[in-house]
């Protein structure tokens, strides 16, 4: 059975090798600062108490005030999992998080997806291009302020009935 790290313990363990990296934590998750993400990632992968060698997923969430990246990590050798979150783009300014592709190659396509659909930049990514949509697509569709076609256009029949 995979053991999930408690947020409190994980925060303490991260603090042990990367001081000032942890911003806050709750029961399950730990928030780290974008600046220290690379150090934390390398430590989580290599240190014997973690060995999180498999980056399960990177999810980007738009919380209107800020963006959040959620890293779901799995450790095959120790059969453990943990959740690390990174807050970025406070006040909807240009969100930017260092790329973890150097630590986990599995981040490659997922970070491109986060850039394409959520508009979060990943400096250091080897192939920083859009993935699902074409270059020049206006905006990033998964953002909450993205106006979809159906929201922007009133169909003639609809206008008539209204």
């Amino acid at each position: 059975m995979t053991i999930a790290w408690k947020g409190e313990e994980l925060a303490a363990a991260i603090e042990a090798f990367a001081p000032d990296a942890v911003i806050q934590h709750n029961d399950t998750d730990v928030w780290v600062s974008p600046a220290s993400l690379l150090d934390v990632a390398a430590g989580l992968r290599d240190r014997p108490e973690f060995r999180f060698d498999l980056l399960s997923s990177i999810s980007a969430v738009d919380y209107i005030g800020h963006y959040e990246l959620v890293y779901h990590l799995t450790s095959l050798p120790r059969n453990m999992k943990a959740v690390v979150k990174v807050r970025c783009g406070e006040g909807r300014s240009d969100p930017e998080v260092p790329s973890v592709t150097a630590v986990w190659r599995g981040a490659d396509l997922q970070e491109r997806e986060a850039w394409d659909l959520m508009g979060i930049r990943f400096p250091g990514h080897p192939n920083h291009k859009r993935i699902m949509l074409w270059e020049g697509f206006p905006g990033h569709p998964l953002r909450k302020d993205f106006v979809t076609y159906s929201q922007s256009v009133i169909e003639p029949e609809q206008a008539h009935t209204e």
């Binding site: 095959l76 050798p77 120790r78 059969n79």
Partner: protein, 418 residues
């Protein structure tokens, strides 16, 4: 004139038109349809009639073969196959042909127009010409030229050229792959193909197909098993059939050289592909399955087409079961496998011919008895040297190669092993 009149097909048509000529009268023909003095017209009409007969006969044969292949493949794959047009769907190829003719004819703007238009014609014509020298029955052939087998080898080489022309001229990069593969195959498989026939030629002492058939008191497939195997495989490669269908590899190159062809130009290529199978089967029947020879009173043509049908079934059967080889494996197969087999075959045949220069039926049986053990021994050796052993599949792991959950006891269930 006598040369033409020796040919029964020509004689039957010509002499019924113009029996008044002295050549025909000498052969006992009467009741001329045309008045005397119009022999030139009779000669021309006969030529046109024979060409029409061959072309239409082959086209009908192709339509039949398309239907046969589709139905057979379908049965082997638990499907029904075409069954809508005509009895048992036999008119489906006709409907396909009509549809193909009415398609829009598109040429790519980058195409080299002259070569692009020439390629399909160059593909079809040589295959039609092959049928001219094949004896379909007793005295039923268009021309029994005395270098018939060399003629066939020379003429079929043109199809490789046509593929390269079509591939290059359509200006498509995927097509060019197909053209390059066609050249590689052509160079590799012509050699074992030509060498494998030498045994047959030595046994029969002639290059003429008629003589070769007459010499087969014992079908040469029994006397020359190695020659048959190599010739069959090499002709599969020549006609681009599975497992050697690299030029048209559907799952790799979409349709290879056919990518940019449409309408009847595509139709001609398509036709040529099936015609090649027919021609290959006809040549194999003639060289190794004793051609039109059979037992009375069933007519000789019937025997020929029965044997040809058997070869065609084998071709379809192989297509439905085998995957495709890679280009390097295929060239290695030609040079390391087939080439050696033909050499063994050639040496053995030469020794046997030196012992019995003009073999009787009994001596042919003795040759067969010697050839078969050597055939299996050679096959075993070649397979040993270049074959892929099934056991090369490595044993599956019994434990994880990467550390997984080192702290905890193994979960329920076992790592399965074979």
């Amino acid at each position: 004139m006598d040369v033409f009149l020796d040919n029964s097909l020509f004689r039957n048509i010509y002499c019924n038109l113009a029996s008044a000529s002295e050549n025909c009268a000498a052969r006992g023909y009467e009741n001329a349809l045309l008045p005397d003095g119009l022999q030139w017209l009779a000669f021309t009409l006969t030529g046109v009639a024979i060409i029409a007969l061959i072309v239409n006969g082959v086209l009908t044969g192709v339509l039949g073969f398309i239907w046969f292949e589709r139905r057979t493949l379908a049965r082997m794959q638990n499907r029904v196959g075409p069954n809508r047009w005509g009895p048992f769907g036999m008119l489906t190829p006709v409907a396909d042909a009509i549809k193909t003719m009415f398609k829009e004819d598109i040429s790519p703007s980058d195409a080299d127009r002259f070569l692009y238009n020439l390629a399909p014609i160059l593909m079809v014509v040589p295959l039609l010409v092959v049928f001219a020298v094949i004896p379909f029955g007793i005295g039923t052939f268009v021309a029994d030229i005395n270098v018939g087998i060399l003629f066939i080898l020379a003429v079929t080489t043109m199809s490789g050229l046509a593929i390269v022309m079509g591939a290059w001229s359509s200006g498509n990069r995927i097509s060019i792959f197909s053209g390059l593969r066609a050249v590689a195959l052509l160079i590799s498989y012509e050699i074992p193909m030509a060498l494998s026939i030498l045994g047959v030629i030595m046994l029969s002492g002639s290059l003429a197909l008629g003589k070769i058939v007459e010499a087969q008191n014992v079908p040469f497939i029994l006397v020359q098993p190695m020659g048959f195997l190599v010739f069959f495989l090499a002709s599969l490669a020549e006609m681009n059939r599975t497992p050697f269908d690299l030029t048209e590899a559907e799952s790799e190159l979409a349709a290879g050289y056919l990518n940019d062809y449409s309408s009847m130009k595509f139709g001609l290529f398509f036709l040529a592909e099936f015609m090649a199978a027919l021609a290959g089967a006809a040549v194999i029947t003639t060289l190794f399955l004793s051609g039109w020879r059979g037992w009375e009173p069933v007519p000789s043509h019937f025997w020929f087409f029965i044997k040809m049908g058997g070869v065609l079934f084998l071709i379809v059967w192989i297509r439905s079961t085998w995957p495709r080889l890679r280009i390097d494996q295929m060239l290695a197969f030609a040079w390391k496998g087939l080439f050696e087999l033909t050499l063994v075959n050639l040496v053995l045949a030469a020794i046997l011919i030196a012992i019995w220069p003009e073999p009787t039926t009994l001596q042919l049986w003795i040759m067969a008895a010697i050839n078969w053990p050597v055939f299996f021994a050679a096959l075993w050796l070649v397979a040993k040297v270049m074959g892929v052993k099934p056991h090369r599949v490595e044993r599956p792991a019994r434990a994880s190669l990467y550390p997984v959950a080192v702290d905890e006891p193994a979960p329920a269930g076992e790592v399965s092993e074979r």
